[in-house]
Symmetry: C2
Subunit: 231 residues, 2 copies
């Protein structure tokens, strides 16, 4: 069946994201350097993020709260308020960082919008994701935008049902095997992995090697060609 | 023109919300009672919420971060980490509070779903709003759910275009004059105000007295009758 609809993930697929989180995390480690070894701290922060995901969902606000919680934990309540204030400020700067498009993102979106319906499907804080899309200048190319709390096969079935002709005529492209590729394939669509290099621990998953609707590309520059080949 | 679609606000329209925020805020005032007078503290917290709205958007996570920021501010950086930990815990309990439907919410939704397309249109944290809708048991009655970062006339035009026959054949019901009633009327629809009694300072606005598409009701029990009268 001909592909009519293409779903794009946003963070680390169209624009940089994880690298900004890493910079914020480095600042956090630096602030708490006197209280715990860096690798221990990273583990504790990751454990807090994992534990809090069901409460806070994805995004910078929850990450900031997890950093605050970890700072209190690892210092056994001795962290000075001035350090907490710096963590709050670091979170706010992360929300305000300028948008940095990935190579070929604009060309791929523009080229494919001429022949396919495009849908942006992304997790994260509602306001932050909307603001990034506005800053990206790519908004006009998208037929629909879905900011979701989790990416499951049902998420893709619903999004491609609403904005296209169903998941079996859709292709999803993204940097996360776990959130973009596997559930889109499970919904009956194509899953195209474009790795970003930096990946958040909680987004890791094994590739569905040999699956007929799985493809991997080194960057978005090759996406229009792949879509043309698939027909 | 006959009304085909009814939009419902969620927080303090279908279920209690502000009262839980007030309880959390009382706990916050209590925690900081040694550092500032209650009314001064409330003013500082409200100022932080207002200042941070553009960064954080609506919802519990941003409210928690504003409480933390205010605690640091009013103590000039002397607040103990144990108090910050209590604020983080209070925010998390606010996210987890059990859902408490408002009187007549279930009957009104059920009754109107037989004759109209219903859309839930709400601000707040994505995951938290989805979870509350699931807990409410009302999800199945709604044709669509829109969790949005802001409620403007464009928000209503889009939501009623997507899930109904446009804003001029829609009616929006909610407790916020500013977010539910006025922008829905500005979009060309009806605006029905059902006051909750407790209102967040940042949601206040004057009623559009005498506007032909404005109505006020004491509770949701009278909504099906009003909709029938309007035809």
């Amino acid at each position: 069946m001909r592909i009519t609809t293409i779903g794009f993930d946003a963070d680390d697929t169209l624009w940089h994201n994880e690298s900004f989180f890493r910079l914020t995390q480095a600042r956090f480690l630096d602030l708490l350097a006197d209280h715990a070894a860096p690798d221990h701290l990273e583990d504790r922060l990751l454990a807090a993020e994992r534990r809090n995901l069901g409460h806070y969902g994805y995004g910078v606000k929850g990450f900031t709260l997890s950093m605050i919680e970890t700072a209190i934990e690892v210092t056994e309540g001795r962290v000075p308020a001035a350090v907490i204030a710096e963590i709050v400020a670091a979170g706010r700067e992360l929300l305000a960082h300028p948008l940095d498009l990935l190579p070929h993102a604009r060309e791929a979106v523009e080229a494919l919008s001429a022949s396919h319906r495009l849908v942006l499907i992304t997790k994260g804080d509602l306001l932050h994701q909307e603001r990034k899309l506005a800053q990206s200048g790519l908004g006009a190319w998208f037929h629909g935008v879905e900011i979701v709390s989790e990416k499951t096969p049902e998420t893709y079935a619903r999004a491609f049902g609403r904005h296209g002709n169903g998941a079996d005529r859709a292709l999803m492209v993204g940097n996360s095997m776990k959130s973009d590729v596997l559930p889109a394939i499970a919904a009956g669509g194509w899953g195209v992995h474009v790795p970003h290099g930096l990946e958040w621990e909680l987004e890791r998953a094994e590739p569905p090697a040999g699956h007929p609707r799985f493809r991997a590309l080194p960057d978005l520059g090759q996406l229009p060609g792949l879509v043309a080949d698939l027909g």
